[in-house]
């Protein structure tokens, strides 16, 4: 399949856009992988909602510390410069707009930046929201990282979300396996195409009127 990036390639692509010195929260699931691809020598400070800044990678086997976990409850490590704090402070940090960036998974993203990523609304599912809603509205930028299509072949980029929302108008950019999209006042604009994917293909797959980002005016338009 040369029409799309593999998951490591996508994580590397996302990581390349994170500036040195940024404070970043990586959501559970796919976004976690971004940590492994941050450019060498750049210092990106990872926040985990359960009370830590300066989170390091997974420990070596046999060195798991059960008191040191991330939001996905996986074992992690502590970097020099790390700091611990309690949950109210951790979420004050998010809600107060101090995180530069948060990277989340998604079930759906609408062309106005609405995010649905906590519930598919199926009646028998056990609802669980965690910190998703706080992250969605808190970080300065919210990037979504996801496959463009569900396993069933439906587009996760939609005109209007049909799943229960996590946050309204919060997503600023979507990294998918086929392209990168900015959320603009005129809907999704394609920022970058991956592999052999074309704009027409994306239009077909999503059913959306997509434009290419006008590079010259990106900064104005993409927020």
């Amino acid at each position: 399949m040369t029409d799309r990036l593999d998951r490591d390639g996508l994580a590397r692509r996302v990581a390349a856009d994170i500036p040195d010195g940024a404070y970043v929260n990586l959501g559970i699931g796919a976004p976690t992988l971004v940590a492994d691809h941050l450019p060498l020598g750049s210092e990106v400070i990872l926040h985990t909602e359960n009370g830590m800044l300066g989170m390091g990678p997974a420990p070596a086997p046999g060195h798991v510390d059960p008191d040191l976990i991330n939001a996905g409850k996986l074992a992690v490590t502590e970097l020099p410069g790390a700091a611990y704090f309690h949950h109210a402070d951790s979420f004050g940090m998010m809600r107060g707009g101090h995180l530069d960036l948060c990277i989340l998974g998604a079930f759906q993203v609408s062309q106005t930046g609405d995010l649905a990523n906590w519930s598919t609304g199926t009646p028998d599912a056990i609802p669980a929201v965690g910190g998703a809603m706080d992250l969605a509205i808190g970080a300065k930028d919210v990037y979504v990282m996801t496959d463009l299509l569900t396993r069933g072949g439906e587009s996760k980029l939609v005109e209007t979300c049909t799943y229960p929302l996590t946050g309204v108008g919060c997503v600023t950019r979507v990294y998918t396996d086929r392209a990168v999209f900015d959320v603009t006042p005129d809907g999704f604009a394609v920022r970058e195409l991956f592999c052999t994917t074309t704009l027409d293909e994306l239009r077909q797959l999503t059913g959306l009127t997509l434009t290419m980002v006008d590079e010259a005016t990106t900064d104005e338009e993409s927020r």
Partner: protein, 254 residues
């Protein structure tokens, strides 16, 4: 002389009564006061309302409390875990009420109770199903929801070290909800690995001052922490996480 240490862990939880509201610290297993919960099970209170971030995992601690049928209602942000089978069954069988609260609102509501705030406006959950029924208010062009304090009769908390005044320090991400829950309950009980002499804890590094603590009890090294596989997480689709050595299959791109 002030001495908040309890020699017998059951004494520390003896006054928890039928129908009480109990905050339980911890995020997953980190910081979960398993020994205090075991003592609570022994003491026998039931029809409890539990306020905790998760709803227990595996077969011990909060999961066991639920399995024993002692819990009437859970207020939490994320009940669904790989190993939350006891919660899952009780919930599906309708034996358990669930109030789902976004994690940041959960934390801030607990803090508000401890800090004497009557209510506050939060931007979290606006426009989502969890905003239903809540008062909306526009402040400086942004919409907020009115959120109320969450109080408890008792808070059970897991710390690292304490002194006889009830000053507590925590360990790494096991700190999580402990410091705020300690402020929001009428009675706060903290289990620690070790009780140290007064004056030993660095006054600059004490996280929970003793004013918020009623009882501290030493439980020694928490061996259960290292029992079995280190699990409890769930991915975006609700699929179980496997143990941490195999992160490669966990952080995957779905």
């Amino acid at each position: 002389m002030i001495d908040k240490t309890a020699a017998d862990i059951r004494d520390a939880v003896a006054y928890i009564t039928h129908g009480a509201t109990v905050m339980i610290g911890g995020f997953g297993r980190a910081g979960q006061p398993v020994e205090l919960i075991d003592a609570l099970i022994d003491v026998g209170a039931s029809e409890l309302t539990i306020i905790s971030n998760n709803a227990g995992g595996g077969d011990l601690g909060l999961a066991r409390l639920i399995a024993e049928g002692r819990v009437r209602k859970v207020v939490c942000s994320f009940p669904r875990q790989t190993d939350s089978w006891h919660f899952d069954r009780a919930y599906r069988e309708g034996r358990l009420e669930l109030e789902l609260v976004p994690q940041g609102n959960l934390a801030e509501r607990i803090r508000a109770a401890g800090a004497g705030i009557g209510a506050f406006y939060s931007p979290t959950a606006v426009g989502t199903p969890l905003a239903e029924g809540k008062e909306h208010r526009e402040i400086d062009g942004r919409t907020y929801l009115l959120e109320h304090p969450l109080r408890a009769d008792v808070a059970l908390i897991g710390g690292l070290r304490a002194d006889r005044w009830g000053n507590v320090v925590y360990r790494r991400t096991a700190r999580n909800f402990g410091p705020i829950m300690a402020t929001a309950a009428r009675t706060t009980v903290v289990q620690v690995d070790e009780i140290v002499p007064l004056g030993t804890l660095d006054p600059e590094a004490i996280v929970t001052p003793g004013i918020f603590v009623d009882r501290v009890v030493a439980v020694g090294n928490r061996r259960w922490l290292r029992d079995g596989r280190f699990v409890g997480g769930v991915d975006l689709q609700g699929e179980p996480l496997v143990d941490s050595a195999a992160t490669d299959t966990v952080g995957g791109h779905r």
